[in-house]
């Protein structure tokens, strides 16, 4: 031990104090008052590790059961088909041709084009189920 440490220890010992009997009595009375007011709180006994495992497994099982029940209750029902009148909703294409100004080959060409257009229109309707 070095000189300073020794001196500090000695000087601490030179501080003369004593716990008086009166203080002793006061402290004991206060301690007894504490026990009367409220018993020293006890730490609840630790639960065994098995308890935590059981709780975890129970929790997982409950979650799985809830998910399964929810999934079983929801049936996969197809959406009901709502009939749509496409003829009413689709605007009709007006084909205005001024025949007087057309020459014969062009007129034939127009007939063919209109025929193709009609066929295409029918095909579209067929495809969409009307």
């Amino acid at each position: 031990m070095d000189k300073l440490a020794e001196r500090l220890r000695d000087d601490a010992a030179r501080i003369e104090v004593d716990v008086s009997d009166e203080l002793d009595r006061r402290i004991e009375a206060s301690l007894r008052a504490q026990t009367r007011q409220a018993p020293a709180p006890q730490r609840p006994p630790a639960r065994p590790p098995l308890f935590w495992w059981a709780s975890t497994i129970t929790g997982i099982a409950a979650a799985v059961a809830v998910i399964a029940i929810v999934n079983l209750q929801v049936e996969q029902q197809p959406e009901p088909a709502v009939p749509v009148d496409l003829l009413a909703t689709t605007p009709r294409i007006e084909l205005n041709a001024e025949a007087a100004m057309l020459t014969a080959p062009l007129h034939d060409e127009l007939d063919r084009l209109q025929s193709d257009l009609r066929k295409a229109e029918e095909k579209v309707r067929r495809d969409i189920g009307l």
Binding site: L4, L8, R14, V17, P41
Partner: protein, 178 residues
């Protein structure tokens, strides 16, 4: 004994703290403004220790835990507050009214703990006290003061240097901590 005290036995608790009462009172005296305050702080410390004994962790020394409570209680009766107040009133406090001076046996040289109280702040003073009168390890002191180990090491060294300077550089100042 601790188990019996934890169960609420006042007798067991009194036996348990019997060896610490005087040491705690001596420590508290150095931090309180009057002997009566130190006695009150000791009483509060022991009552709180009894009340919260269930929270005591046996991994730590019992004295570490007890001193921690004592320091908190002494903080409520902070000597600096009193010193500041008396300074404002014209330094009414003199050596004769200092409880520490009253309890020190007459000697040619000044008690080093009186010098320490003048030179060091409360925390460094407490660290020095725990180290040199209670032989606590640096880890225990850190835990008691709720400070880091490095803080404790540095401040123990600073405390030593301050006291060595006061003594006129008598010490070597080379004690290693930790």
């Amino acid at each position: 004994m601790i188990a019996a005290a934890k169960a609420g036995s006042v007798e067991a608790f009194t036996d348990l703290v019997g060896g610490y009462r005087t040491r705690l009172l001596r420590f508290l005296l150095t931090r309180c403004a009057s002997f009566a305050d130190a006695e009150d702080a000791l009483q509060d410390t022991l009552i709180n220790a009894f009340r919260y004994l269930h929270s005591y962790d046996p991994r730590w020394r019992f004295s570490t835990w007890l001193y921690r409570i004592a320091i908190r209680n002494a903080g409520k009766l902070h000597r600096h507050d009193v010193v500041d107040l008396t300074a404002e009133l014209g330094d009414l406090r003199d050596e004769e009214s200092d409880p520490l001076q009253q309890c020190i046996a007459d000697s040619e040289s000044e008690n080093l703990w009186v010098s320490a109280r003048r030179l060091l702040n409360d925390e460094v003073y407490a660290a020095m006290w725990l180290r040199y009168t209670e032989d606590m390890s640096v880890a225990d002191i850190s835990n008691t003061l709720d400070r880091s180990v490095s803080w404790t090491k540095v401040n123990l060294m600073r405390g030593r240097r301050a006291l060595e300077n006061e003594l006129g550089g008598a010490g070597n100042g080379n004690e290693a901590y930790g």
